[in-house]
Protein backbone atom coordinates (compact mmCIF):
# COMPACT_ATOMS: atom_id res chain seq x y z
CA UNK A 1 0.00 0.00 0.00
CA UNK A 2 2.76 2.40 0.99
CA UNK A 3 4.69 1.52 -2.17
CA UNK A 4 1.54 2.02 -4.28
CA UNK A 5 0.98 5.49 -2.78
CA UNK A 6 4.62 6.45 -3.39
CA UNK A 7 4.66 5.09 -6.96
CA UNK A 8 1.42 6.90 -7.87
CA UNK A 9 1.82 10.03 -5.77
CA UNK A 10 1.49 12.52 -8.63
CA UNK A 11 -1.64 10.96 -10.13
CA UNK A 12 -3.29 10.47 -6.73
CA UNK A 13 -2.44 13.93 -5.37
CA UNK A 14 -3.73 15.71 -8.46
CA UNK A 15 -6.78 13.42 -8.60
CA UNK A 16 -7.69 14.47 -5.05
CA UNK A 17 -7.00 18.14 -5.85
CA UNK A 18 -9.18 17.83 -8.98
CA UNK A 19 -12.13 16.33 -7.09
CA UNK A 20 -11.80 18.83 -4.25
CA UNK A 21 -11.71 21.74 -6.68
CA UNK A 22 -14.67 20.37 -8.66
CA UNK A 23 -16.75 20.11 -5.48
CA UNK A 24 -15.67 23.63 -4.50
CA UNK A 25 -16.61 24.88 -7.97
CA UNK A 26 -20.04 23.25 -7.61
CA UNK A 27 -20.74 25.09 -4.33
CA UNK A 28 -19.39 28.47 -5.44
CA UNK A 29 -20.99 28.21 -8.90
CA UNK A 30 -24.35 27.35 -7.34
CA UNK A 31 -24.14 30.40 -5.05
CA UNK A 32 -23.16 32.61 -8.02
CA UNK A 33 -25.99 31.34 -10.23
CA UNK A 34 -28.52 31.74 -7.43
CA UNK A 35 -27.43 35.33 -6.83
CA UNK A 36 -27.95 36.05 -10.54
CA UNK A 37 -31.31 34.26 -10.63
CA UNK A 38 -32.60 36.26 -7.66
CA UNK A 39 -31.35 39.48 -9.29
CA UNK A 40 -33.22 38.80 -12.54
CA UNK A 41 -36.48 37.73 -10.88
CA UNK A 42 -35.96 33.93 -10.84
CA UNK A 43 -35.90 31.46 -7.96
CA UNK A 44 -32.71 29.83 -6.57
CA UNK A 45 -31.91 26.18 -7.37
CA UNK A 46 -30.39 23.44 -5.23
CA UNK A 47 -26.85 22.13 -5.50
CA UNK A 48 -27.80 18.91 -7.30
CA UNK A 49 -29.98 20.75 -9.83
CA UNK A 50 -27.07 23.13 -10.47
CA UNK A 51 -24.57 20.28 -10.95
CA UNK A 52 -26.88 18.83 -13.64
CA UNK A 53 -27.38 22.22 -15.32
CA UNK A 54 -25.80 23.57 -18.49
CA UNK A 55 -24.33 26.45 -16.45
CA UNK A 56 -22.12 24.01 -14.52
CA UNK A 57 -21.37 21.87 -17.59
CA UNK A 58 -20.15 24.78 -19.71
CA UNK A 59 -17.97 26.18 -16.93
CA UNK A 60 -16.32 22.76 -16.46
CA UNK A 61 -15.98 21.95 -20.17
CA UNK A 62 -14.49 25.29 -21.20
CA UNK A 63 -11.62 24.75 -18.78
CA UNK A 64 -11.12 21.10 -19.71
CA UNK A 65 -10.92 21.82 -23.44
CA UNK A 66 -8.25 24.48 -22.95
CA UNK A 67 -6.13 22.21 -20.76
CA UNK A 68 -6.23 19.37 -23.27
CA UNK A 69 -5.59 21.79 -26.15
CA UNK A 70 -2.55 23.02 -24.25
CA UNK A 71 -1.17 19.52 -23.79
CA UNK A 72 -2.00 18.48 -27.36
CA UNK A 73 -0.19 21.50 -28.84
CA UNK A 74 2.72 21.20 -26.43
CA UNK A 75 3.20 17.50 -27.21
CA UNK A 76 3.22 18.10 -30.98
CA UNK A 77 5.13 21.42 -30.85
CA UNK A 78 7.99 19.85 -28.90
CA UNK A 79 8.53 17.38 -31.74
CA UNK A 80 9.52 20.21 -34.09
CA UNK A 81 10.27 23.27 -31.96
CA UNK A 82 12.96 23.71 -29.32
CA UNK A 83 13.90 26.18 -26.58
CA UNK A 84 17.62 26.23 -26.00
CA UNK A 85 18.42 25.82 -22.32
CA UNK A 86 14.96 24.51 -21.36
CA UNK A 87 14.59 21.04 -19.87
CA UNK A 88 11.21 20.90 -21.66
CA UNK A 89 13.06 20.93 -25.00
CA UNK A 90 15.02 18.48 -27.10
CA UNK A 91 18.43 19.20 -28.55
CA UNK A 92 18.62 20.75 -32.04
CA UNK A 93 19.98 17.57 -33.65
CA UNK A 94 16.94 15.55 -32.46
CA UNK A 95 14.20 17.83 -33.83
CA UNK A 96 11.52 15.93 -35.74
CA UNK A 97 10.06 12.45 -35.19
CA UNK A 98 13.58 10.93 -34.78
CA UNK A 99 14.80 7.61 -36.14
CA UNK A 100 13.35 4.17 -35.32
CA UNK A 101 16.57 3.42 -33.46
CA UNK A 102 16.22 6.51 -31.25
CA UNK A 103 12.56 5.67 -30.61
CA UNK A 104 13.14 1.90 -30.00
CA UNK A 105 10.79 0.90 -32.84
CA UNK A 106 10.51 -2.28 -34.95
CA UNK A 107 13.73 -4.27 -34.85
CA UNK A 108 15.20 -1.68 -32.44
CA UNK A 109 12.52 -2.43 -29.85
CA UNK A 110 13.72 -3.51 -26.41
CA UNK A 111 12.51 -6.63 -24.68
CA UNK A 112 10.32 -4.52 -22.38
CA UNK A 113 9.00 -2.26 -25.18
CA UNK A 114 5.19 -2.11 -25.63
CA UNK A 115 4.02 -4.72 -28.22
CA UNK A 116 2.72 -2.08 -30.68
CA UNK A 117 6.17 -0.40 -30.76
CA UNK A 118 7.49 -3.67 -32.20
CA UNK A 119 4.47 -4.57 -34.40
CA UNK A 120 5.14 -2.21 -37.31
CA UNK A 121 2.55 -0.88 -39.80
CA UNK A 122 -0.54 1.06 -38.67
CA UNK A 123 -0.29 -0.18 -35.11
CA UNK A 124 3.16 1.33 -34.59
CA UNK A 125 2.14 4.53 -36.42
CA UNK A 126 -0.96 4.85 -34.22
CA UNK A 127 0.88 4.03 -31.00
CA UNK A 128 3.66 6.47 -31.98
CA UNK A 129 1.10 9.30 -31.89
CA UNK A 130 -1.25 7.93 -29.21
CA UNK A 131 -0.46 10.50 -26.52
CA UNK A 132 -1.07 13.48 -28.79
CA UNK A 133 -4.13 11.91 -30.41
CA UNK A 134 -5.80 11.14 -27.08
CA UNK A 135 -5.16 14.75 -25.98
CA UNK A 136 -6.61 15.96 -29.31
CA UNK A 137 -9.68 13.73 -28.86
CA UNK A 138 -10.23 14.95 -25.28
CA UNK A 139 -9.83 18.55 -26.46
CA UNK A 140 -12.34 18.14 -29.30
CA UNK A 141 -14.79 16.25 -27.06
CA UNK A 142 -14.59 18.90 -24.33
CA UNK A 143 -14.90 21.72 -26.87
CA UNK A 144 -17.97 20.10 -28.40
CA UNK A 145 -19.44 19.69 -24.91
CA UNK A 146 -18.69 23.36 -24.24
CA UNK A 147 -20.54 24.34 -27.42
CA UNK A 148 -23.62 22.26 -26.53
CA UNK A 149 -23.81 23.20 -22.85
CA UNK A 150 -22.76 26.78 -23.64
CA UNK A 151 -25.59 27.14 -26.14
CA UNK A 152 -28.07 25.89 -23.56
CA UNK A 153 -26.83 28.33 -20.88
CA UNK A 154 -26.64 31.16 -23.45
CA UNK A 155 -30.17 30.54 -24.70
CA UNK A 156 -31.48 30.55 -21.13
CA UNK A 157 -29.86 33.95 -20.60
CA UNK A 158 -31.27 35.17 -23.90
CA UNK A 159 -34.83 34.23 -22.90
CA UNK A 160 -34.41 35.67 -19.41
CA UNK A 161 -33.28 38.90 -21.11
CA UNK A 162 -36.25 38.86 -23.54
CA UNK A 163 -34.18 37.94 -26.59
CA UNK A 164 -34.41 35.10 -29.11
CA UNK A 165 -32.42 31.86 -28.58
CA UNK A 166 -29.64 30.89 -31.02
CA UNK A 167 -29.12 27.77 -33.14
CA UNK A 168 -25.98 25.68 -32.48
CA UNK A 169 -24.28 27.14 -35.58
CA UNK A 170 -25.13 30.68 -34.56
CA UNK A 171 -23.81 29.95 -31.08
CA UNK A 172 -20.44 28.56 -32.22
CA UNK A 173 -19.99 31.77 -34.23
CA UNK A 174 -21.07 33.96 -31.31
CA UNK A 175 -18.96 36.27 -29.16
CA UNK A 176 -19.95 34.25 -26.05
CA UNK A 177 -18.49 31.00 -27.39
CA UNK A 178 -15.23 32.57 -28.61
CA UNK A 179 -14.82 34.73 -25.53
CA UNK A 180 -15.11 31.63 -23.33
CA UNK A 181 -12.65 29.74 -25.55
CA UNK A 182 -10.02 32.42 -26.10
CA UNK A 183 -9.89 33.64 -22.51
CA UNK A 184 -8.89 30.12 -21.52
CA UNK A 185 -6.51 29.56 -24.43
CA UNK A 186 -4.50 32.74 -23.85
CA UNK A 187 -3.77 31.75 -20.24
CA UNK A 188 -2.70 28.23 -21.25
CA UNK A 189 -0.37 29.50 -23.97
CA UNK A 190 1.10 32.08 -21.57
CA UNK A 191 1.72 29.34 -18.97
CA UNK A 192 3.45 27.05 -21.50
CA UNK A 193 5.55 29.83 -23.02
CA UNK A 194 6.63 31.28 -19.69
CA UNK A 195 7.44 27.81 -18.30
CA UNK A 196 9.69 27.13 -21.32
CA UNK A 197 11.56 30.42 -20.80
CA UNK A 198 11.66 30.38 -16.98
CA UNK A 199 13.06 26.84 -16.95
CA UNK A 200 16.14 28.12 -18.80
CA UNK A 201 17.16 30.50 -16.01
CA UNK A 202 15.31 29.39 -12.87
CA UNK A 203 15.60 26.15 -10.86
CA UNK A 204 13.54 24.10 -8.43
CA UNK A 205 15.80 21.76 -6.55
CA UNK A 206 14.68 18.15 -6.87
CA UNK A 207 11.87 18.76 -9.39
CA UNK A 208 11.76 16.79 -12.63
CA UNK A 209 10.33 19.95 -14.19
CA UNK A 210 13.60 21.78 -13.53
CA UNK A 211 17.22 21.34 -14.52
CA UNK A 212 19.62 20.52 -11.68
CA UNK A 213 20.31 23.72 -9.73
CA UNK A 214 23.92 23.81 -10.84
CA UNK A 215 23.23 23.09 -14.53
CA UNK A 216 24.32 25.91 -16.87
CA UNK A 217 21.62 28.08 -18.50
CA UNK A 218 22.43 26.93 -22.04
CA UNK A 219 22.19 23.21 -21.16
CA UNK A 220 19.16 21.66 -22.86
CA UNK A 221 17.48 18.27 -22.42
CA UNK A 222 18.35 17.59 -18.79
CA UNK A 223 16.15 17.46 -15.72
CA UNK A 224 16.87 17.08 -12.07
Amino acid sequence: MKKFLRDNGLGLAFGVLFLGSLVGQAFSGNADVNARRLADGGDPIGLWQYVLSSDFAVDVAENWQSEYLQFFLFIFATVWLMQRGSNESKLADRLGPESDEQQYLGRHARSESPPWARAGGWRTRLYSNSLGLVMLGLFLGSWLTQSIAGRSAYNNEQLVDFQDPASWWDYVLSADFWNRSLQNWQSEFLAIGSMAIFSVYLRQRGSSESKPVGAPHDRTDVSG
Partner: protein, 118 residues
Protein backbone atom coordinates in the same frame (compact mmCIF):
# COMPACT_ATOMS: atom_id res chain seq x y z
CA UNK B 1 -32.84 -7.68 -15.58
CA UNK B 2 -34.59 -5.52 -12.97
CA UNK B 3 -31.52 -3.33 -12.81
CA UNK B 4 -31.63 -2.89 -16.60
CA UNK B 5 -35.32 -1.97 -16.48
CA UNK B 6 -34.56 0.54 -13.72
CA UNK B 7 -31.81 2.07 -15.85
CA UNK B 8 -34.15 2.25 -18.85
CA UNK B 9 -36.82 3.93 -16.75
CA UNK B 10 -34.28 6.46 -15.49
CA UNK B 11 -33.09 7.21 -19.03
CA UNK B 12 -36.68 7.63 -20.24
CA UNK B 13 -37.50 9.85 -17.27
CA UNK B 14 -34.49 12.07 -17.94
CA UNK B 15 -35.21 12.14 -21.67
CA UNK B 16 -38.80 13.05 -20.94
CA UNK B 17 -37.83 15.95 -18.68
CA UNK B 18 -37.51 18.38 -21.57
CA UNK B 19 -40.92 17.73 -23.09
CA UNK B 20 -42.57 17.67 -19.63
CA UNK B 21 -41.14 21.10 -18.88
CA UNK B 22 -42.25 22.34 -22.29
CA UNK B 23 -45.78 21.04 -21.65
CA UNK B 24 -45.96 22.93 -18.36
CA UNK B 25 -44.71 26.14 -19.98
CA UNK B 26 -47.19 25.71 -22.83
CA UNK B 27 -50.02 25.15 -20.36
CA UNK B 28 -49.17 28.39 -18.53
CA UNK B 29 -48.98 30.28 -21.85
CA UNK B 30 -52.32 28.77 -22.94
CA UNK B 31 -53.93 29.74 -19.64
CA UNK B 32 -52.61 33.28 -19.99
CA UNK B 33 -53.80 33.60 -23.58
CA UNK B 34 -57.25 32.27 -22.58
CA UNK B 35 -57.45 34.73 -19.67
CA UNK B 36 -56.54 37.56 -22.05
CA UNK B 37 -59.20 36.46 -24.56
CA UNK B 38 -61.80 36.22 -21.75
CA UNK B 39 -60.74 39.57 -20.25
CA UNK B 40 -60.21 37.83 -16.87
CA UNK B 41 -58.02 40.44 -15.22
CA UNK B 42 -57.66 38.53 -11.94
CA UNK B 43 -56.45 35.44 -13.80
CA UNK B 44 -54.12 37.53 -15.97
CA UNK B 45 -52.54 39.06 -12.87
CA UNK B 46 -52.14 35.72 -11.11
CA UNK B 47 -50.22 34.32 -14.10
CA UNK B 48 -47.72 37.20 -14.25
CA UNK B 49 -44.38 37.16 -12.43
CA UNK B 50 -44.14 39.55 -9.50
CA UNK B 51 -41.86 41.81 -11.51
CA UNK B 52 -44.17 41.90 -14.55
CA UNK B 53 -47.11 42.76 -12.29
CA UNK B 54 -45.34 45.78 -10.80
CA UNK B 55 -46.33 48.43 -13.33
CA UNK B 56 -49.47 46.89 -14.80
CA UNK B 57 -53.14 47.57 -14.29
CA UNK B 58 -54.43 44.06 -14.91
CA UNK B 59 -57.98 45.34 -15.52
CA UNK B 60 -56.72 47.52 -18.37
CA UNK B 61 -54.53 44.95 -20.11
CA UNK B 62 -55.20 44.93 -23.84
CA UNK B 63 -53.33 42.10 -25.55
CA UNK B 64 -54.03 40.06 -28.71
CA UNK B 65 -54.43 36.63 -27.00
CA UNK B 66 -55.01 33.66 -29.32
CA UNK B 67 -53.91 30.05 -29.37
CA UNK B 68 -50.30 29.21 -28.48
CA UNK B 69 -48.56 27.88 -31.59
CA UNK B 70 -44.93 27.47 -30.53
CA UNK B 71 -43.03 27.16 -27.25
CA UNK B 72 -39.26 27.03 -26.77
CA UNK B 73 -37.80 26.30 -23.34
CA UNK B 74 -34.20 26.74 -22.19
CA UNK B 75 -33.67 26.10 -18.49
CA UNK B 76 -36.03 28.17 -16.39
CA UNK B 77 -37.07 30.48 -19.23
CA UNK B 78 -39.35 30.10 -22.23
CA UNK B 79 -40.74 31.98 -25.20
CA UNK B 80 -44.27 31.26 -26.46
CA UNK B 81 -45.83 32.52 -29.66
CA UNK B 82 -49.46 32.91 -30.64
CA UNK B 83 -50.52 34.03 -34.11
CA UNK B 84 -50.22 37.68 -33.08
CA UNK B 85 -48.25 37.84 -29.82
CA UNK B 86 -44.97 36.77 -28.22
CA UNK B 87 -44.83 35.89 -24.52
CA UNK B 88 -41.82 35.27 -22.27
CA UNK B 89 -42.12 33.00 -19.25
CA UNK B 90 -40.05 32.04 -16.19
CA UNK B 91 -40.25 28.88 -14.14
CA UNK B 92 -40.60 29.81 -10.47
CA UNK B 93 -41.23 27.71 -7.36
CA UNK B 94 -44.98 28.28 -7.87
CA UNK B 95 -44.82 27.15 -11.53
CA UNK B 96 -44.47 28.89 -14.89
CA UNK B 97 -45.38 32.58 -14.92
CA UNK B 98 -45.46 35.16 -17.71
CA UNK B 99 -42.62 37.68 -17.43
CA UNK B 100 -43.45 39.55 -20.63
CA UNK B 101 -46.50 39.75 -22.91
CA UNK B 102 -47.41 41.78 -25.96
CA UNK B 103 -43.73 41.63 -26.93
CA UNK B 104 -42.41 42.88 -30.25
CA UNK B 105 -38.90 42.25 -31.62
CA UNK B 106 -36.49 45.20 -31.77
CA UNK B 107 -33.42 44.67 -34.02
CA UNK B 108 -30.25 43.88 -31.97
CA UNK B 109 -32.12 44.68 -28.74
CA UNK B 110 -34.38 42.81 -26.32
CA UNK B 111 -38.06 42.58 -27.24
CA UNK B 112 -40.21 45.51 -26.26
CA UNK B 113 -43.19 44.31 -24.17
CA UNK B 114 -46.47 45.97 -23.31
CA UNK B 115 -46.69 43.98 -20.07
CA UNK B 116 -43.53 43.15 -18.10
CA UNK B 117 -40.44 42.75 -20.24
CA UNK B 118 -36.93 44.12 -19.84
Amino acid sequence: MLRRLGLLATVLAVAGCGSGTEDLARRAADEFASAVSAGDSARICSLLTERAREHVDCAAVDLPGGEVEEVVVWGDAARARTASDTLFLRELAVGWRVSGAGCHPVPDRPYSCEVGGP
